[in-house]
Each structure stands twice: as C-alpha cells, then as structure tokens.
C-alpha cells in the first residue's frame, strides 16, 4: 500500500485553518448581532425560566436569512450560529472531495452518508 500520509497531512492542515477561519467569522457575526441586540434590549427582562420555543423567523434556515436581511438583531446572531453549524458540515463536504480525488470509493460513500444525515438535520427533516 502506498503511503499517502504526507499528502493527507497537507490537506488536513489546510482544512484545519479553514475551520478556524469559519469559527472566527461566525463569532464576529454573532458578536455584531449581539451588540445590536444588547443595545436594543438592555433594559428588558428575558424569561428563560419557562420554555416557549423560538418564533418562526428564528427556526428555519430560509426564514432566518430573510429576517437577517432586514437586520433584525436576533436573526443576525442566528445567522452567525448557522455559519458555525455549517463549519463542520463544510469539513465533511471537503472530505468527500478529498476521498473522491484519491479514488477511495468506500470512504467517499461513507462521507456522503454523514453529509446526508447532517443536511437532513439542518434543513428540517422530520425527526
């Protein structure tokens, strides 16, 4: 068997840095949305003691993006959180490409399954 490790390693290095970059972007979006949220809500009293669930516009990917486009601060934070959730999903997607390039069909399939589960969860499959 050929030793593919050095090549793997460079790829992994690149992916690792991309992940960190993604987390930084997500944190920045959350912080910006959060700053506006705090300024607007500073004196109000939140009620987290009893569970009500979030309003519709903070629940689904499409609605969150729409609400963020009209600059609702909660939705901007939620976009940052979506970016964050997308980071590991992106990592899995990149791995599919890496396995395909190596003609590793078994692991390409394994990775596609993982990606499918993740997208099913995020895009609101009925669970």
């Amino acid at each position: 068997m050929i030793d593919r490790r050095p090549n793997d390693h460079r790829m992994e290095h690149l992916i690792g840095n991309l992940l960190r970059f993604g987390v930084i972007i997500a944190a920045c979006i959350v912080a910006i949305g959060g700053a506006f949220y705090i300024v607007r809500r500073a004196g109000t009293v939140p009620h987290y003691g009893s569970f009500q669930g979030e309003p519709e516009f903070l629940e689904h990917v499409g609605q969150v993006l729409k609400a963020a486009a009209s600059l609702r601060s909660e939705a901007v934070i939620q976009v940052g959180l979506l970016v964050l959730i997308a980071v590991p999903i992106f990592r899995v997607a990149v791995s599919i490409v890496a396995f395909l390039l190596k003609r590793d069909w078994l692991y390409s399939l394994v990775t596609v399954i993982v990606l499918a589960v993740l997208l099913f969860a995020l895009l609101g499959g009925m669970v």
Binding site: H13, G34, L58, A75, Q78, L81, P88, L106, V127
Partner: protein, 292 residues
C-alpha cells in the same frame, strides 16, 4: 432542596438582558477555560450552571451548549491537525454512528420531560467524574491486525519523536455501537460526549490515545452539528442566550489551551471532578423532584 455548591440559590426573575448576558459571558469564559484545561469540555459545566444556577429551562440550556461545543471543537481542529495525529477514516466511519445517534437523541429530547433529561445528565456527570480518577490510558502498542478494520483501511500511523509509529485498530462493531450511544447522549444532553468517544476508541478499538483524543475532537463538532440542526428547527436555540455563551466558552477555551502547557492539571482535574459530582448529584435530586 438547598444548593450545595457555590451557585446562587435562584435566579432573580427580574434580571435584565444586559445583566444576564454579562453573567452568562463571565460564567461561560470560566466554563470554557476549565473545560479545555481538564479536557472534559465546556458543555458539562455550562448546562448545570444555567439550569441550577440561573433557573433557565434545560431545553434552552442544551441549545446554547451545543453551539458552544461546535465552536470549541472546530476552533481547536487547526491545532490538532498540525500535529498529524487524527485519523480521518476512523473518524468519518464512526461519524455515521454518532450523527445518527445524535438525531435519535435530539428526537428523544423533544419528547421526554425536562426532569428526565436532568436525571440522565446528572448520571453522565457522575460518570465523567469517575472517569477522571481512572488509570491513565493504555499505550495500545503491538495490537494485532483485525480483519474488518484492515478491510476498512483504518490502520494508520502517527508521528512520534522516534519517527512514524504505525498502529492497528480492533473491535470496529463494538466501537461503532458505543459511538452511537455517544451520539444519542450528545443529542439528548447537548454535550460533546468527548469522554465516551475517547473510551470507545482508546479502550475498545485499541487506538493509541493521542490518535483517539484528536480524532474525537474532530468528531465532536460534526456530531454536535447534527444535533444543533434539529434543535434549531424546533426553536430550541435562542440567539440572546446562545450569543454570550458561545462567545464566552470560545474565549475561555482559547485561554485554556494557552495555559494548558504550564498548568498543574492533576490537582485541577480533582477539583473539577468534585465540582462535577456536586452538580451531578443536584441535577439528579432536582430532576427527581421535578424541579428542573
């Protein structure tokens, strides 16, 4: 029931958004810092803190914790990758188990009473504390090759001071099963389940400890992303609550990683374990009392 730990007895229901955000951010920095120093992750501390300390509904707490788990796992990936220990094939294969488990766990969480979740959480905390005191991990050297693991191309190598060391992997089905359980707990409780993942790889599959821990870190983010997707769609992730927690835990864990090299982790782990026992016991009592 009286609080036994250093937490405020009950959260002031009139606390404003500004006050609550400041307290949450400070607490999350501590949780992230301790979680990263002890290797147990921020989730196990942040959820008891929110529920017992601040009277926040456990479902909101789980959503916020999951988000911070993703942040710390993905943020740390770059550092781990540089060292060249993680095994992407093992990780990806076991991800099938953890993500499906996470979906199941999240689905269960949506259907059972919060008090039951609190009791299970308490048990997991007690087990994590017990795990802290167990013997150091085995070295897993000279493990004989296993047919299934070899067919799946899981055996690998990692750098040591004396050059590359190759290793073999065993017991794939048992490891896969434990990973599914780790996924269920992650989805149900909003934690990374890192400890259980490492046990599955290190003790059951006989993977070298360094490879286990770094591969586990990679898997934690993917598992938590599966759960977070479900929670988001069900309205369990509140932006106002998740914001200070995610930023705080992330900042705390970055600080923790900086201090890790210098810190006396042995005594720290013991203090941390005792705290976790106290929190776990309280979660169980309050859960049984239906007070969470």
């Amino acid at each position: 029931m009286k609080s036994v730990v250093l937490l405020p007895q009950n959260h002031n229901p009139d606390m404003t958004t500004l006050e609550l955000s400041a307290i949450l951010a400070a607490a999350s920095i501590c949780a992230g810092f301790l979680g990263s120093l002890t290797g147990l992750g921020g989730g196990v501390v942040i959820i008891p803190l929110l529920t017992l300390g601040l009277g926040i509904d456990i479902r909101y707490a789980i959503g916020a914790s999951l988000v911070s788990v993703i942040a710390t796992s993905s943020g740390a990936a770059a550092a781990y990758v540089r060292e060249g220990f993680s095994n992407i094939r093992i990780g990806m294969f076991l991800e099938i188990a953890t993500t499906l488990g996470a979906l199941a766990g999240a689905a269960i969480a949506l259907r059972v009473a919060p008090s039951i979740i609190a009791v299970i959480f308490g048990c997991v905390l007690l087990y994590s504390a017990y795990q802290t005191f167990r013997a150091p991990p085995a070295d897993n050297e000279n493990v004989p090759a296993d047919g299934l693991a070899t067919r799946l191309g899981m055996n690998g190598s990692f750098p040591t001071p004396g050059g590359l060391r190759s290793y073999n992997v065993r017991s794939v089905p048992a490891g896969f099963g434990l990973m599914a359980l780790a996924g269920v707990l992650s989805g149900l409780l909003g934690i990374g389940s890192g400890a259980l993942k490492v046990i599955a790889m290190d003790r059951v599959m006989k993977i070298p400890f360094k490879v286990s821990t770094t591969t586990s870190n990679f898997m934690i983010g993917v598992t938590a992303a599966a759960s977070a997707g479900v929670y988001l769609n069900r309205g369990y992730i509140d932006p106002g609550l998740a914001m200070p927690i995610m930023l705080g835990v992330l900042a705390g864990s970055v600080l923790g990683a900086r201090f890790l090299a210098a810190a006396q982790t042995r005594s720290l782990r013991i203090i941390f374990a005792i705290t976790i026992v106290a929190l776990g016991a309280q979660m169980i009592f309050k859960g049984f009392g239906g007070r969470l």
